[in-house]
Subunit: 346 residues, 2 copies
Amino acid sequence: MQNSRFLRACRREPVDATPVWLMRQAGRYMSEYRELRTRYSILELIKSPELACEVTMQPIHAFDLDAAIIFADILPPLEGMGLELEFLKGEGPIIHNPVRTAKQIGLLKVPEPRKALSFTLEAIRLVRKELEPRGIPLIGFSGAPFTLASYAVEGGASKNRIEVKKLMWNEPVAWHVLMNKLATLAGEYLLAQAEAGAQALQLFDSWVGELSPADYKQFVLPYSRKALQIASKAGVPLIHFGTGTSGMLPLIHEAGGDVIGVDWRTDLATAWDQLGEGVAVQGNLDPVALFADWDALEPRVKAILESVKGRPGHIFNLGHGILPETPVETVRKLVDFVHEYTQTRA
Amino acid sequence: MQNSRFLRACRREPVDATPVWLMRQAGRYMSEYRELRTRYSILELIKSPELACEVTMQPIHAFDLDAAIIFADILPPLEGMGLELEFLKGEGPIIHNPVRTAKQIGLLKVPEPRKALSFTLEAIRLVRKELEPRGIPLIGFSGAPFTLASYAVEGGASKNRIEVKKLMWNEPVAWHVLMNKLATLAGEYLLAQAEAGAQALQLFDSWVGELSPADYKQFVLPYSRKALQIASKAGVPLIHFGTGTSGMLPLIHEAGGDVIGVDWRTDLATAWDQLGEGVAVQGNLDPVALFADWDALEPRVKAILESVKGRPGHIFNLGHGILPETPVETVRKLVDFVHEYTQTRA
């Protein structure tokens, strides 16, 4: 298992072909998933270890992927803090009791993820049993402190994130308390996932690209670093991913991670140059490119692979999660093409 | 007028204080504007030269701004092409007959902006009369070809811009026809605004940050360059602005512009280093920062001003348009602070 393409690439060791997995690879673009969703809500799928295991395995059965990622969501950890989470049909997640004052933040608990998120840890154990004979590693993940704070403060998706930024700027002490709690929770949750069997861990900072580099450095970096430092006790590769980070990749790297995830808004080789040779990189096809005809898509995939050719430590992925309407046949072609094109012939 | 702070800074000449204006400075955050909007729709305001003049002047009366920008919208030029535009309450603009095929694109007209957009050109003439005695220059603007194409193809705002990207990748010939028409229209419209009296012109590419640098270079840059080349016949400074461009600023510069607008996701001095000394820069405060308490905001404004101190050619602005709920008092303080802090004492 430690010799799998994916884990070797995380450690920047030579591989027989570039490993590939896709963020949100278990999800709505697959008919098998949509079928399950007619019977279960998202939270039901996440909280039933057998169902979460089944969903995690769906893309593994369908495609020649080099890693699985546990089916879960970044938001359930907030429930253990005392926040009321609901997924509204067609509108995404909302938090019914967002926190916006020092007092509300003071009341937030830091749950023990081994208890509060035992369903995901149990799902990880089940998935590992299925993956073991296939030699495919499993990735655990957590939302990063800023992205979690955005939901906790805004109460849901938000266009401009005015409330979370106001708290950050106007109430730095309350912000510190909130981010410290979230960093501990995210770090311990990642660690618990590794203990349960995850062989790599990804910290997702989906919303961090809304910050200026100066604000990231002052208000976010220390807490992402703390989460990654706690997780690093597991001794497994850590992937650090954010979107919209083209202007602050060195700061993302400074916060930590063995692998830095890069979205499609930066040239991958340029990004790697900025990061230095000390890290592996993951990325970075525009998820929308999977809607293009194969003849238009292939040269784009080639260009990414060619741009980092000869540099050990590239994990092919999209620049953000795969989109709901993505054609399944294109996903299959993409995964196979990455392997075929990069195969080293002995 | 040519000696105004703003125009001097566009030409990278020394100034007595850093000039400041704010994207969308005429708009919903002002009670004077909201009052007019109770009686008129957005398109009515834009299409009545007297009203457009009045709205343009509202922030000039209220704040010590160094430039006015004509009150208009990037979308009316699409009407002249044959697209049916409507602003829906609370939902923003929609195009009722978006174009998605080569045939539909072939039928799009390239209107003569001096006729099709005469209302904005007349508004420019009226505004110039009001600004002349005050010595304040006026900026004209146009949407850039990619942003216009996004609306024309998607039919409105769109989260992932799947349709416009599909067209770009799958139908490169139709794409070329569409972008050529839009580049001609945008360029001629800018030129016409300068002829009517605008003393600087801004090309807005609000949505270009959704593209990879490689796609920008291949599918967008040639057309933004064409628009700017047409506009350059006016001999006035050209400002080229996009959001989410941290990973492709050198390409934005390559497309053209005397002033490059930078959003807040990049450090301004780093951005200027990437662009080189041959251009002026405009930016780059996070628009949400205006919701912070002044004590939290002031050091952020200072940091931007300090980071580019001593480099002639900085125009202070937000990194994107001012938001509807922005406190007016903070706008006033910001504008005055930029001047006071940067004032050169003789």
